[in-house]
Symmetry: C2
Subunit: 137 residues, 2 copies
DNA sequence: ATATGACCTCAGGCTGCTAGAGGTTCAAGT
DNA sequence: ACTTGAACCTCTAGCAGCCTGAGGTCATAT
């Protein structure tokens, strides 16, 4: 049995975050010691590691909840899990696309200024008007 | 003079958000009608457009506040504005890098499953353990 | 005069945590 | 057996950056 501190160190998830996940229903309320402290089994550690991995991949709490729900029914078809992963991939690709547009524009803005005073500053002028933008947004 | 609704439509910034920016000190408290409703000048519309543009580029409220502060002193050197833009560019590039790692892993996870049941599902297994990951994270 | 829509303020909620106050328990050392 | 000190407990509040809704007022057209 692990204390919450040991669990935290082994998974890299901070203690308040563990308690938060319990509150959010991602982790079942664990056993308690006589003095009311949380004690975790290795299975619970595995589940927390699962949650952390999914969070690191950018999955929302709600999506993780669905996946856990699915994983409790190992004999059902796994199309649901596939769908969640695919949706997540799609979301990540969209974010990358948007960020690359931003990158281009920021690169132009950040390197374009050779003025000396604010009133000539390309950064300020570029933000003040879209006329200097390459694409619409 | 524009009402808050007109301002909202012209800038694409929602009404509660405009009031929020005022509260945060990004917009000065505007004039009011006799009946205490906000009335905006074209200059205020321009400033809101500036704010929106900067937000769309991912700048934080605090960074925008600094830029506005700078733009009020047009005769000062503009190195500060350049720095803010460069920092933002750096942050965006970092986010892109991280997201691309996620993309690779998710793509592998989302396309790797040909099991039929949850207990064989590659998505679930990949999340449960890092053994299936390509890089550490 | 009245209807309707746009506006006002204020409070509370959202995500995903994090921090702090104020109190209890555990394990180790003496 | 006792004492320390770290680790734990619950609860509340806070962060960004808004959004929503309640309950009420204003503007304008008919």
């Amino acid at each position: 049995m692990l204390t919450i501190g040991q669990l935290s160190r082994r998974t890299g998830v901070k203690i308040p975050t563990i308690r938060y996940y319990e509150q959010m229903g991602l982790l079942a309320p664990p056993e308690r010691s006589e003095g009311n402290q949380r004690r975790y089994t290795p299975e619970e550690r595995d589940r927390l590691a699962f949650i952390k991995h999914a969070r690191d991949l950018g999955l929302k709490i709600e999506a993780i909840r669905e996946l856990i729900e699915l994983s409790v029914h190992p004999d059902q078809p796994c199309a649901g899990a596939d769908r969640i992963a695919a949706e997540q991939l799609h979301a990540v690709r969209e974010r990358i696309g948007k960020l690359r547009k931003l990158e281009r524009e920021l690169a132009r803005i950040a390197t374009g200024c050779d003025g000396e005073q604010i009133k000539d500053c390309y950064v300020i002028r570029a933000l003040a008007s879209h006329d200097l933008c390459e694409d619409e947004h």
